[in-house]
């Protein structure tokens, strides 16, 4: 056996796996999406049909809001955790990154325990104002759930980036007269930008496509993964759910690709 054919033989399993579990289903999905009564126009329906369009916009807004709030919270926390040494720091970091271990169902369950009908927040507001505050079963509950599992990832990324930050840059800026805010604005945040883009893209992709949390909270939340699920299982609308799937995939892929071209480093999808 020649060296070359040996290499090809080694690549065979990869080729089989790629074809069987990636290329074929993707192709099938794309074909199915165009297989409805409207044909290729089925894809257009995602944008034209008000229900689909609203859901699409909702999902993107939810993902964007999750990303922005996650970045703000996680950057401040990550910077503090990386720069300060105090008793209990290791425990705190372990706790903050704990949600990484949970599947979406558990996160959803925790949101219900927090903001559901028997939730902590409801109890508390009932005692204070005589009214139960319940928002677990809405898009706000979902937002909270996504925050919960996006923050740990971003904190870890930001901490790694802060660690690599040259303290000399901040000292140089200060020596030139820059106060604390100016140092953050002109030196620290620009240096952390690649980390923001990379971890923000992951947070966005996760919030776009995560299903477990949404499904646990309620089946009538207007987000794309839920819509795909209901179209598929309840309405048996195969072509529309396929078209929606492709649309979701393209948006997420586009964001990740954009992030990759900005940061240059590998950005892996997650969720």
């Amino acid at each position: 056996m020649s060296h070359r054919s040996f290499v090809w033989l080694c690549l065979l399993p990869l080729a089989v796996v790629t074809a069987a579990f990636f290329l074929l289903p993707m192709a099938r999905l794309v074909v199915t999406g165009a297989g409805g009564p409207q044909g290729l126009a089925g894809y257009l329906a995602i944008l034209v049909e008000p229900r689909y369009r609203v859901t699409l916009i909702n999902t993107v807004l939810l993902a964007a809001a999750t990303t922005i709030v996650t970045l703000i919270v996680a950057t401040i926390a990550g910077m503090f955790l990386q720069r300060h040494r105090f008793p209990g720091r290791a425990v705190l970091i372990a706790m903050l990154t704990f949600p990484l271990a949970f599947p979406g169902v558990v996160v959803g369950f925790m949101i219900i325990l927090l903001a559901g009908r028997q939730g902590l927040i409801g109890d508390f507001s009932n005692r204070l104002f005589g009214e139960k505050l319940v928002f677990a079963y809405s898009i706000y509950g979902l937002f909270l759930g996504y925050l919960y599992f996006s923050i740990p990832r971003v904190i870890l990324t930001v901490m790694a980036a802060v660690q690599k930050l040259d303290v000399g840059l901040e000292e140089a800026a200060r020596s030139l007269g820059a106060g604390p805010w100016a140092v953050q604005r002109d030196v620290v945040l620009p240096a952390l930008a690649p980390a923001f883009v990379a971890s923000g893209a992951i947070a966005f992709a996760t919030a776009m496509g995560a299903f477990g949390t949404a499904f646990t909270l309620a089946t009538n939340i207007d987000v794309l993964p839920m819509l795909i699920y209901t179209e598929f299982t309840l309405a048996a609308n195969l072509s529309i759910s396929a078209a929606l799937s492709v649309g979701l995939g393209i948006i997420t892929w586009f964001i990740l690709a954009l992030a990759r071209s900005f940061s240059g480093s590998a950005v892996a999808a997650a969720g």
């Binding site: 000292e171 140089a172 200060r174 020596s175 030139l176 007269g177 820059a178 002109d186 030196v187 240096a191």
Partner: protein, 353 residues
């Protein structure tokens, strides 16, 4: 360049020590006066406390309780670095990677709210002064090491600081470039007239740049003096060996002579001492005929360096003696030679404690 000159602040550090959180004494309480416009070099091996002292002056570290830092007689101890008006050049240069060369140089001026037009003029002035014309719009990662060094210096000087602090600014460069930039830096510092505090572990840098040198050892000041004083009259064995090449000779002193295995060397000393330590610089030892000299030994090795040759001589002292001889002297290993040393060239050092 005359517009630049003569606005250096005087610096006084008073009983400034530094103990880090983990209990290490980086700096024993030290007091030091630096005159306006003076270039003071803090010299010593790594870990001697020189950078800590610089950072205390800069305001990047606070001295232990009781220590004070004064600029022009004004207590600056509690003033943060951003309000001390010091220019600082870091060993890593710490140039902002997200800004162009011009933006780096102009950053301190922008922070001070200088109008764009004025700022551009000042940046142009510094670009010329530091010889980096044409690089204004480059990104930092497009610059060579020497260019980065110049940008860092221009950025620090742009704000017209009262004090310029340089932390091993040439260490990151290769030897040839370092020598060239050292000369340039020297001319620039003289022209600017800013009070300059320069940290280095390189004694030749210290000699060329410093009006005075502070030699530091293990967190304490070992000696303060002009380059000549430090070189010719070191106060300790550490200083003698750290600055230039030095032969350290341990011997008894009897009526004005060092008693050595290879003979008796006259020195300036009246009393007798059973165990004295003396320093003799290699270039002060002259090769003479073995018979006529009061001190003699055997050549162990000869290294031809070009402008001179370095002989290692055994048998003269209890240790090997290094002798810098003119390159015209004929010397072969194994030969017996005489050594003539002027009494002025032998410096007695205080015994180590």
């Amino acid at each position: 360049m005359s517009a630049e000159a003569g606005h250096g602040a005087s610096v006084r550090i008073e009983a400034c020590g530094k103990t880090f959180a983990d209990g290490t004494h980086a700096l024993e309480p030290a007091t030091l006066d630096i005159a306006s416009g003076e270039t003071l070099v803090l010299l010593g091996p790594s870990g001697c406390g020189k950078t800590t002292m610089l950072r205390i002056i800069a305001g990047l570290e606070a001295p232990d309780a009781g220590g004070r830092v004064l600029f022009d007689g004004k207590d600056m101890t509690a003033v943060p670095i951003e309000r001390r008006n010091v220019g600082m050049v870091f060993q890593s240069y710490a140039l902002f990677p997200n800004m162009t060369v011009a933006d780096n140089i102009g950053y301190g001026l922008k922070i001070r709210g200088m109008p764009d037009k004025e700022r551009a003029a000042r940046v142009a002035e510094l670009v010329t002064l530091t010889n980096i014309s044409g690089l204004e719009n480059r990104r930092i990662d497009q610059l060579s090491g020497g260019q980065r060094q110049r940008v860092a210096l221009a950025r620090a000087v742009a704000i017209r600081p009262g004090i310029l602090l340089l932390d091993e600014p040439l260490t990151a460069l290769d030897a040839a470039l370092r020598d060239r930039l050292r000369g340039e830096l020297n001319r620039l510092l003289r022209a600017l007239g800013i009070t300059t505090i320069y940290v280095t572990h390189d004694q030749s840098e210290a000699m060329e740049l410093g009006d005075r040198i502070v030699v530091m050892q293990k967190g304490a000041i070992a000696q303060i003096g002009t380059p000549r004083e430090i070189y010719f009259t070191p106060r300790s064995r550490f200083v003698a060996e750290f600055i230039g090449a030095a032969n350290i000779v341990e011997a008894a002193v009897e009526d004005g002579h060092l008693v050595l295995p290879g003979g008796r060397q006259p020195i300036h000393c009246d009393g007798d001492m059973p165990a004295a330590v003396a320093m003799i610089r290699p270039e002060t030892i002259h090769v003479a005929a073995a018979r006529s000299a009061s001190l003699s030994g055997t050549i162990d090795s000869v290294s031809f360096i070009g402008d001179r040759q370095r002989l290692v001589v055994s048998g003269a002292s209890s240790r090997l003696l290094t002798v810098d001889a003119p390159n015209t002297v004929q010397a072969r290993p194994g030969e017996r030679i005489g050594l003539s040393i002027s009494p002025d060239a032998v410096r007695l050092l205080p015994p180590e404690n």
